[in-house]
């Protein structure tokens, strides 16, 4: 009984949004067809799909470039953010010295740093510049969330560790890092999306002919008024963003489901 309940509930959770999406596409298709709206203003879903199939090779190539930059930036952000947060937790002085600069990096709009980074890295190495820019955007939420998480360990548990003569290393690995995990994962979810945004925005700034990621496909299609292809590239970007979000949510759920409130499924 209970199992069926949750199973059907789970199917509904997938089915309802999918049905809503299909309905939306049908209405879109009907609207465009009936009103005879030109395809360079608003292409019908069927036309977009056609364009997707036609340009499959080049779009997939661009998708791969954007994906590559996003994932690399994200992984480096995890390493840098968590690493720096651990360093901060070990030394208040290091935190005091560096945290303000991490904030400076965060509050300065990435668009405004992009030209500088591009010049420094050189236009023959745009992908590396994109990586740096995406990393700058993605890195801060992981740093700040993990820093907060490492500090959030229960103070009675801290006392208990002290009572049993735990070493710094033991406090870090057995107490602080597990306490920080939910915070860290929340940071990862934000950063996953930001890494993609960073990669795309940076490519827009890099400008014509330099990149060959999805952002460049959009610019290119726009210049040629090939709106169906623009939509096809947009669709791939959204799909990528959704995939990243779901992947990280799944990871979060896997790691927290046995113990953390946020991941525990309650009855009723």
């Amino acid at each position: 009984m209970k199992r069926d309940d949750t199973l059907s509930a789970r199917i509904m959770r997938i089915l309802v949004p999918v049905a809503a999406g299909i309905l939306f596409l049908l209405l879109w298709e009907a609207f465009v067809t009936i009103r005879e709206i030109p395809r360079f203003v608003l292409p019908a879903p069927s036309v977009i799909f056609e364009s997707l199939v036609q340009n499959f090779g080049s779009l997939m190539g661009s998708l791969w470039v954007t994906l590559r930059v996003t994932i690399a930036a994200f992984l480096l952000a995890v390493v840098g953010g968590v690493g720096l947060a651990i360093l901060f937790s070990q030394s208040r002085h290091v935190e005091m010295a560096l945290f303000p600069y991490a904030i400076v990096l965060q509050v300065t709009p990435v668009v405004s740093i992009a030209p500088l980074i591009l010049i420094w890295v050189g236009y023959d190495n745009v992908e590396f510049a994109l990586l740096i820019l995406a990393w700058i955007v993605a890195f801060f939420p992981i740093l700040s969330n993990t820093t907060l998480g490492l500090r959030s360990a229960d103070h009675n548990l801290r006392d208990l560790f002290r009572l049993y003569g735990a070493s710094r290393w033991q406090v870090l690995t057995e107490l602080q890092l597990p306490s920080a995990l939910p915070y860290m994962l929340a940071g990862l979810k934000i950063s996953g999306g930001l890494a993609l945004i960073g990669a795309v925005v940076a490519e827009f700034v890099a400008g014509s002919g330099s990149g060959n990621g999805l952002a460049w496909r959009i610019v290119e299609a726009g210049n040629r008024l090939d709106i169906p292809r623009m939509f096809a590239a947009l669709f791939l970007l959204s799909a990528l963003g959704i995939a990243i979000f779901f992947g990280l949510s799944l990871l979060e759920n896997r790691l927290l489901r046995r113990w953390h409130e946020s991941a525990v499924r309650r009855e009723s």
Binding site: D159, Y164, H260
Partner: protein, 258 residues
């Protein structure tokens, strides 16, 4: 098994003129004297803010006293193992019951396999053998507290310090745990200092009740209970019990009036 016969042995814990002022100027304790025999069961009662937790933390070595002297006449030094139980069970939510109980042994460098039998024994003592693989959030408040006690006792410490351990539990669970704690104490013989703000609980459990007052935190009175163990329902319902509770209550009121 009682206080009788141990009167001439050197005490385990000797507090003389203990004082503690926190960095912000709060005088948490002044001139606290007390002596606790090895294997004894002493309760600390007093209004909140009278320095009970501070005293417990000083005895545990978590903070240092800044006046007076804390001595360990029977052993010469603070025992390497001290069990500590907090008001909330203070379990690691990410670890199973068994892994929570394993913690003190793990921090001391004992391998999981070696520690296995000791973890099992500790869980058995508190009646949670069947819950080794459960996670804290799957347990009731009383069961969590049992895990906390099992963790404190897994190293078989000579001293068990408890800071209002059952205060957040319902009356029924609390009485059950009171009884179980006494049985453990009688079987294992660890010295217990039990902080509570329940007069009834302090009288039921301990050989001696230390009554404390606030502002500044100080010792007001010591009341011997003198009732043999094991204690049970009969003691809780006896006129003697009511009379001793009234005496503790009067001592507390006297302190508040000053």
């Amino acid at each position: 098994m009682s206080a009788a016969g141990a009167a001439d042995a050197p005490s385990l814990i000797e507090l003389s003129g203990i004082g503690k002022t926190y960095a912000n100027g709060t005088v948490a304790l002044t001139g606290v004297d007390a002596s606790i025999r090895q294997g004894g069961f002493v309760s600390l009662v007093g209004p909140s803010g009278c320095g009970k937790s501070t005293l417990l933390r000083i005895i545990a070595g978590l903070i240092a006293e800044d006046h007076g002297k804390l001595g360990w006449p029977a052993t010469g030094a603070r025992p390497a193992d001290i069990g500590f139980v907090f008001q909330d069970a203070t379990l690691m939510p990410w670890a199973s019951v068994a892994d929570n109980v394993y913690l003190p042994l793990k921090l001391k460098g004992l391998g999981r396999v070696e520690a296995g039998p000791r973890i099992e024994a500790a869980l058995k003592r508190v009646g949670l053998s069947d819950f080794a693989a459960a996670f804290p959030r799957e347990l009731s408040g009383g069961m969590k507290m049992r895990v906390s006690i099992a963790r404190a006792l897994v190293t078989e410490p000579p001293v068990l310090l408890m800071d209002e351990p059952f205060a957040a539990l319902d009356e029924f669970t609390r009485e059950k745990l009171d009884g179980d704690l006494l049985a453990l104490w009688q079987a294992q013989g660890f010295t217990t200092i039990f902080v509570t703000h329940s007069i009834y609980e302090s009288v039921f459990l301990s050989e001696r009740v230390l009554v404390m007052g606030a502002r500044p935190g100080r010792m007001l009175a010591e009341i011997e209970i003198g009732e043999p163990y094991p204690r049970g329902r009969a003691f809780r319902e006896s006129p003697r019990y009511v009379e001793i509770c009234a005496r503790v209550s009067a001592a507390l009121r006297e302190g508040a009036a000053i």
